[in-house]
């Protein structure tokens, strides 16, 4: 046994010249690892595992028939450069060590127990796709929506395709001041000509071209020093054509003296905010332009129906906050009412517990873990592990770290890979018995080609297929072009 473990250890050294024949009789040399989810965390972890465990088989199970998670469904259509990471992920996917199995849902088509029995190690990276609600009156009115679902709507996430969003309104309130909030504000305020050559979905482009939106308020409960968006996204917003950024100068009075003492990233971001405040128009607004308001120190108290469309939101009451010594928002007695025909809520996201056997922190909406390790053999990466924070670099860094933890556990024997596991063979049988249609990487490449060719006809990098049944049909070569 000791000897065997030593041998398994050998497969982990980056030595690629190993006595092949000795191993061919022993499946112990093939650590079988599966990853659930196919976004950046998944692909970066897979990249690490393929490189450092050259004998490992890595299988990626994805709920949708198409890969890439938030790179496809989260990154804004007017940020095509960010999607270049798909080239690296594709390279990883084409490794003979990797298998992509799309259209498989953990907790529905397969249980965690079944995956754990089939594989030596299971790494979950299915993200955080449930949004936090405010819990205030009127939240159920129509056109009070999750910003993430709005993103899913314009990015072609199948479950959000039919989101009932009405853009026949002038005033929009976005609750939250992170990058998702800024993304949805930008999409609503961008001249339509700038979007029509992106991979934005046809239905969203059509709706946005008829949008009457003139004003978007980005409302935060705290102040300029606490914004969560990043500076690139703010700079982009300030440079948007025919759109004027509006701030209240008094919101910045307490901030300015603190600027020189801030760490560089926060300092530069705050300096840019101060600059925006300085060039903010005073007096009447130019009604021929669109306006983007940065609203600080406000929390929603309740939503009220519109007088014209009684089931839809028309206005909201906000309470004015102050910051206490710990920089937390404390409500005052002052309230105000603002008009809003559409509310997009972006105050936080949480993961769901995909399977009852998965340890889960319901309060924080994520899986408890230490550097991605739940316990040897079970791992979490990306937002399921960290909560929905950070840019792609943070996810990459975290996912490489989890990849290293899996590698270390396999190499040290904490994950016992000496006994063969069936891996995908067993899972494929379960899926076939259950009548689940799966999508391979080759199948995805057919979908990819059809999307690109449809896009080419309308001057877009791709026209995304937004319906799961159509994705499946195209993936097997039906319903082409």
């Amino acid at each position: 046994m000791r000897q065997l473990l030593l041998w398994v250890g050998h497969t982990c050294n980056r030595l690629r010249i190993l006595p092949q024949k000795r191993f061919s009789s022993s499946a112990a040399s093939t650590p079988k690892i599966c990853i659930v989810g196919s976004g950046p965390a998944s692909f970066y972890a897979a990249q690490h595992l393929i490189k450092t465990l050259p004998r490992a088989e890595v299988d990626i199970y994805e709920q949708l028939p198409v890969p890439f998670g938030l790179v496809r469904f989260g990154v804004a259509p007017d940020h095509p450069e960010v999607k270049n990471v798909m080239n690296t992920f594709t390279k990883t996917a084409k490794s003979p060590q990797l298998r992509f199995i799309g259209n498989v849902t953990l907790g529905r088509d397969l249980s965690l127990r079944e995956l754990r029995d089939a594989y030596h190690a299971v790494l979950l990276a299915y993200g955080a796709d449930e949004d936090q609600e405010l819990g205030v009156n009127g939240e159920k009115l129509s056109n009070v929506l999750s910003a993430r679902r709005f993103v899913g709507w314009y990015n072609g996430l199948p479950r959000d395709t039919d989101l009932p969003v009405d853009l026949n309104v002038e005033e929009v309130a976005v609750l939250g001041q992170g990058n998702v909030a800024l993304d949805v504000a930008r999409i609503l305020l961008t001249p339509i000509d700038r979007l029509k050559n992106t991979d934005i979905t046809e239905h969203a482009l059509e709706a946005l071209s008829r949008s009457r939106v003139r004003r978007v308020r980005l409302i935060g409960r705290r102040g300029p020093l606490q914004v969560a968006f990043t500076i690139k996204e703010l700079r982009e917003m300030l440079a948007l054509p025919d759109c004027i950024t509006v701030c209240k100068l008094q919101d910045f009075e307490a901030v300015r003296p603190l600027v020189p003492g801030l760490e560089r990233p926060r300092r530069r971001l705050t300096e840019l905010l101060c600059k925006a405040a300085d060039s903010s128009p005073s007096g009447d607004l130019d009604e021929s332009k669109r306006h983007f308001h940065l609203v600080f120190f406000r929390s929603p108290l309740s939503f009220y129906p519109s007088p014209d469309v009684p089931h839809a939101v028309g206005s909201m009451k906000l309470v004015v906050n102050q910051l206490d010594g710990q920089q937390q928002a404390v409500p005052t007695a002052i309230t105000e009412t603002v008009q809003c025909g559409l509310v997009l809520r972006s105050i936080g996201y949480r993961s769901t517990q995909a399977d009852p056997a998965l340890p889960f922190d319901t309060g924080r909406g994520r899986v408890p873990n230490i550097s991605g390790v739940v316990h040897p053999g079970l791992y979490v990466a990306g937002w399921l592990a960290t909560g929905p924070v950070g840019v792609i670099l943070s996810t990459m860094t975290q996912a490489f770290g989890v990849g290293r933890a899996v590698e270390a556990d396999v190499c040290s024997g904490r994950v016992d890979a000496s006994q063969a596991r069936p891996g995908h063979t067993a899972v494929a049988k379960l899926l076939s018995d259950r009548g689940v249609t799966t999508v391979s990487w080759k199948d995805w490449e057919r979908v990819d080609a059809v999307e690109r060719s449809r896009g080419e006809k309308v001057g877009k990098p791709r026209e995304k297929i937004v319906d799961v049944q159509e994705m499946l049909a195209v993936s097997v070569g039906a319903g082409g072009t």
């Binding site: 970066y44 990249q47 690490h48 490189k51 940020h79 095509p80 450069e81 960010v82 270049n84 990471v85 080239n87 690296t88 990043t230 500076i231 690139k232 700079r235 560089r264 990233p265 530069r268 971001l269 408890p368 873990n369 230490i370 550097s371 991605g372 592990a385 960290t386 840019v391 792609i392 670099l393 943070s394 990459m396 860094t397 975290q398 490489f400 770290g401 290293r404």
Partner: protein, 159 residues
Amino acid sequence: MAKVLAFSRILRSLHNTKYISRSLIKCQHTSAPLQCSSKTQPLPKKEIVEVTFVKANGERIKVKGKEGDSLLDIVVNNSVDLDGYGACEGTLTCSTCHLIFKKEDFDRLPDKATDEELDMLDLAYDLADTSRLGCQIIMRKDLSGLEVRVPATVNDARS
């Protein structure tokens, strides 16, 4: 302006097809797109330059490139083993090609960082006063022999 935009779009699509056009993309981010046209004319034979990448674990990787290559081009063309380096492929939308220079080298780099580059650097780990993005550093003959530090990306293993 429309022409400039169309041109940069062409550059971008060119760029998406292969790595080597990245040095052209650089022009997108400067205020003088006309510089790009000069690059399309025949250039004198490019000199070979040398760069040493020093990884966080102390490993030193010495590689060759050509004048006009960005440091990212040199990493890619030499398949230097740096995980995750250059995720956005030189389009100034990530900070995975972060490098830290020696003070004296930093001071003699031909172009100062633009606001857009600094915006991305602000999201990098181990940000230093002499940090730059490798995709924005275009090699010249006089920079040959350069030694740059590749910061450890993994120092953020949050639970």
